[in-house]
Amino acid sequence: MRRVPLALAAALAALTFAAPLFLERGTLNDVWNLAFAVILASAWNILGGFGGQVSLGYSAFLGIGAYTTVLLSLGGVHPFLSLPLGAALAALFSVVIGLPAFRLRGPYFTIATIGVGEAVRVSASSVSFTGGSSGLRMPAGSFDFTLNYEAMAALAALTVAAAALVRKSAFGRALAAIRQDIDAAEALGVNATRFKLEAHALSAAIVALAGSLYAINFQYIAPGSVFDFRLSLSIVLMPIVGGVGTVAGPVLGAVVFSTLQIKLLAIPALRDSYLFLYGALLILVMLYEPKGLVGLARRAAARLRRPALPPPEAARAG
């Protein structure tokens, strides 16, 4: 029973890697975007979903990865060699932010992360080495789409695998305990701050890697694009709409979002307002199904398996 999704995932991964052989460039671009979304959503979910620490400041890590790559490439380093440094810097920054911020709980932590994200964005636009508001361009000749595509696909597969491993491990169980009741977890000897910091660093490093690949693919970055609040927003919305705290949820959310994005951006009137739908989705999820699409699927499956069970409304009324 558990083997089936694993085999399915492996087949899907193999198909994705082989895609440049038979898909055209436009479709590959869409798959690239999907892989990018899967990475961001699944990485955020490690801290936000498993550990229940909702951060709205993840664009900072994406930006750190992207800027490390562009600045080092301009200094003559091969772009792909800059990836580990970007990831390390993002992890370091996540610890620097996390040490004070993790003293805050729930919504207060969330607000603090909005503050950090905005402070980073505003500072990045005001200093000169980021290229200010005009941004920076990658050196010529550093672009190879197929290579970038394969790297992004590999990172997506690794991120989902890492999320699945974390969920099964003692680390994942500690995060779940922190999410459910942090006081009880600490009373039982779980070092909550340490686990939160580790989850933060792991997800920050992954997001930074995706940010580096983003910079290489688009060849141009600016504080307004990589530190954008809307980016932090989408990173949070995908796992929540898909199903927070599950492995499949963020992937599902990423699929829904990137499909919608492609469809919605094609309509000129909705170019700026595509987030409308996401906001409405978020409201619906919060009111009716906090476990998102995954929760919805589970409910449907349970309904199919036991059709004799009365619907929850009838049960409540009786």
């Binding site: 909702v54 003293r103 409201i283």
Partner: protein, 299 residues
């Protein structure tokens, strides 16, 4: 280099506006323990409604506050009855669900604005927009003075409602001790609806006043939301006088940094965001909590 009088006058003027913004958040937080992220969207919407009243009916932005206030009060009550009430009640600390739900409301408001008013930068230009008059030897823009007057009047109105009416006393009672207020026969659902209406009304009025000072887009409001947070964190989330103090501290820091350091103006916002972060972490009980701790330490 600007003299101390200039910094002080400007600080007091911005502080009044900041306090109006922050009170809207504080009333809702006090009664319902909900952090209203939609506040940013409501500030933005207040600015756009004021703009529409100005262009359609050539209503002066400050006169239109008399329309915007009640309109947003009704909007807030509707928002509470249709959406917010369906959430489970927050406990002593706000729930994540309420934060994310109102975040969704913010997104919807923002993108409705993109659809209705497009993403173009808008501003309101009245005959007095560029005029200025001397106050205590400092030249102050006429719109800033009107904003100051509008803020003081709205704060006085709120204070009157909270002190002198049954509703206000009920709001304060629920804020101080929800269970005791319920036992005393306060209808918490009705009080919550009114508090949400008041908070939303204040957001609309503050947004309307912001529209005569700044240019705005549908993305407008986020930095002011963070400033409002910063203020209620500094002032303590429940204390009413604290909010005014927090607003003064933030306004003074911003103006002082702008006047006496070489920091670029775009950096000023980063200062308040950093201050928000530091304030949240260092004194979770706000300045009153800090003073309380100092007092106990000296004893």
């Amino acid at each position: 280099m600007q003299d101390i009088a200039g910094v002080l006058v400007n600080s007091v003027i911005s502080a009044a506006l900041y306090a109006t913004m922050a009170y809207g958040l504080a009333v809702i937080y006090g009664v319902m323990r909900i952090i209203n992220l939609a506040h940013a969207g409501l500030l933005m919407l207040g600015a756009y409604v004021t703009l529409s009243l100005f262009t359609r009916f050539s209503l002066d932005p400050f006169v239109s506050l008399l329309v915007v206030g009640p309109l947003f009060f009704a909007l807030g009550v509707a928002l509470y009855r249709l959406v917010v009430r369906r959430l489970p009640q927050s406990g002593a600390t706000p729930s994540m669900e309420s934060l994310l739900l109102l975040f969704g409301v913010w997104l919807v408001l923002q993108n409705v604005a993109y659809l209705v008013w497009t993403g173009d930068t808008q501003s309101i230009l009245t005959p007095y927009t560029l005029k200025s008059v001397p106050v205590l030897g400092v030249r102050v823009g006429v719109p800033s003075l009107f904003v100051f007057a509008g803020s003081v009047l709205s704060l006085a109105f709120l204070n009157l409602v909270l002190r002198a009416t049954y509703l206000g006393r009920a709001i304060r009672a629920v804020t101080q001790n929800r269970d005791a207020a319920l036992l005393a026969g306060v209808d918490a659902d009705r009080i919550s609806a009114i508090a949400f209406g008041l908070g939303t009304g204040f957001a609309g009025v503050a947004g309307g006043m912001l529209s005569s000072l700044y240019a705005f887009t549908p993305d407008f409001g986020r930095s002011f939301l963070l400033k409002a947070f910063c203020i209620i964190v500094l002032g303590g989330m429940e204390s009413v006088t604290g909010v005014a103090g927090g607003a003064l501290v933030l306004a003074f820091l911003e103006n002082a940094l702008g006047a006496w350091t070489a920091l670029p103006t775009s950096f000023q916002d980063a200062v308040s965001f950093t201050l928000l972060f530091v304030a949240l972490v260092v004194f979770p009980q706000g300045l009153p909590g800090l003073f309380g701790r100092l007092r106990t330490a000296h004893r």
